[in-house]
Amino acid sequence: MSTSSGTPESWISSFCSLLGHEYFAEVSEEFIEDDFNLTGLQSQVAMYKEALEMILDVEPEDDEDEEEEEDEEEDESIEGADRMRQSERRNHSRVASDLSVIESSAEMLYGLIHQRFICSRAGIQQMSEKYELGHFGVCPRSYCEQARTLPVGLSDIPGEDTVKLFCPSCLDVYVPPNSRFQTVDGAFFGRTFGALFLLTFPEYDLTKRGADVLAGARVTEDEKEQMLNGMYVCNIAPGLGGTKIYHPRIYGFRVSEVARSGPRMKWLRGKPDDMSELDEARRFAEDNPDSEDEDEASMNLNGRPMHRLRPRRRQGQGGSPMAVEMNGAESGL
């Protein structure tokens, strides 16, 4: 994923090092070169072919030179700078306005590929490295105590909203503190990534502060014992409930809920004191012992999902319960 140090900067790594692009992962060329991963993008991006060539630093060539092009591609990685300059020169021979259109198309295309890439195994792994390094910032909410956030989009369609930060500690989304991120499209991260990250890496200790080095900050063995609704109990909104709700006070006295300006939003930051209240399936089974769905209900009883989930998580070195293919083919979904 990271380019070897000898070669000049690729379009991808220069794009990712731009100011405001700190949240982006470097999509591997391997991922982009697999046509399956690009399915449907052709119709969403203008000058698709040129944009794709730009992303891959391929020299624009006529179709008949296809073989030669491949050769040159290899040369490029070896010879480096000269090739780049040459290709740039060639690019310059295009109409200037054309080039800026391609450039913006390339950014759009890269963003859309990025949305898919970060949900693939390689991509989410790369994002987890960035998460560990604290690249995505921390939650501004005081009671979350600098919990790390994840970049998400509120829409998968480009042009609708900018990138937001999802805090797993309070399950809310925030505007990035720096205005430079207000030009980054949220669709380049997509709606799925945030939640998928939590499911893929259930063992991160979500309460770890952004300033700390995260290496090895995993849920402890004790905490692993408690599992609820497919997540570790200690990782279900650790920043909510209990003492982590603000109670408005005037001279030490709580403002009443009945007051015109009284607190009305405590539910948003609430969490049951006893988390087993959220085990809806078990509670249903307890409340309806004679229910017709008894078989189904009892299947979801406490023990079962644990047994089913655990061995699976041990399998991949990424610790992913999601069997996502290397090339991100989410065909099953």
Binding site: P248, L268, E330
Partner: protein, 264 residues
């Protein structure tokens, strides 16, 4: 620099030190305290034990400081003056005049805007988590989500929260109840490929239940809940479901949209 201030302050009736203080970088959260308030000793009751060189510090704040002293001393007094100003500030901003000054700043969003996406940049108010000085830095309160946030900038994060106090922001909305924005149950729901994730979704269902209960309690007491959609008559359970269904329908379309792309 301070000589300049001290010498000019006598001739002018301007509040030189305070002007300088509130306009200096990092002090954007403070409002200017009236001369009248500062000169009424009653308002300063008890502060003389909190602040070193109390009298000099007060003189500096009120621009009547004329002590000849070395730089170290001046520095100490200057520091005391800033601390004293902060402590008086906490008292001043809960007075009628102080509230209206802070209200102006609030309306201009001088204290920043709520970072929560669904608060749609609602202005914040500064607050302290304790009234005891030197304990906790200033935080920002959003009246829309009723939560507490850290200031974005590190220069604000160093301000003592006691300079604003634990009551000010709540008094503000007691005095100006019309300022309380309509509450909204809009919120983020974590999803994977359009499907809600079980654990957060179960928590969200529980939270919605809490809200419904609260609304029911308030309705019983015939208190306005402040929620946009609360007509008092509508069954809230149903309303919630409808809201969710609407959202779902929307999302289904989106999913199908992307699904089509992937397949086609």
């Amino acid at each position: 620099m301070m000589d300049e201030f001290a010498s000019e302050s006598d001739s002018d009736y301007t509040s030189y030190w305070r002007d300088w203080f509130i306009s200096s970088r990092g002090n954007e959260y403070f409002c200017e305290i009236d001369e009248d308030y500062l000169t009424d000793r009653f308002n300063l009751t008890g502060l003389n034990t909190e602040v070193q060189y109390y009298q000099y510090a007060l003189d500096l704040i009120t621009d009547v400081f004329d002590l000849d002293c070395d730089d170290d001393m001046r520095e100490t007094i200057e520091k005391s003056a800033r601390h004293l100003y902060g402590l008086i500030h906490a008292r001043y901003i809960v007075t009628t005049r102080g509230l209206s000054k802070m209200l102006d700043k609030y309306k201009k969003a001088d204290f920043g805007k709520c970072p929560r996406v669904f608060c749609h940049s609602h202005p914040l108010l500064p607050m302290g988590q304790t009234d005891v000085p030197n304990q906790k830095p200033v935080k920002l309160y959003c009246v829309r989500c009723e939560d507490v946030y850290n200031p974005k900038s590190s220069r604000h994060a160093a301000i003592d929260g006691a300079y604003f106090g634990t009551s000010f922001h709540n008094i503000m909305f007691q005095v100006y109840p019309a300022l309380v924005p309509p509450k909204s149950s809009e919120r983020y729901i974590p999803r994977v490929y359009g499907f809600r994730v079980h654990a957060p979704a179960a928590l969200i269902r529980w939270q919605n239940m809490q809200r419904t209960e609260m609304l029911r309690r308030l309705r019983k007491l015939e208190v306005e809940s402040g929620f946009k959609n609360d007509n008092g008559e509508v069954d809230l359970d149903e309303e919630d479901d409808e809201d969710e269904d609407d959202l779902d329908a929307e999302n289904d379309v989106l999913i199908e949209g992307t699904g089509m792309n992937v397949v086609g």
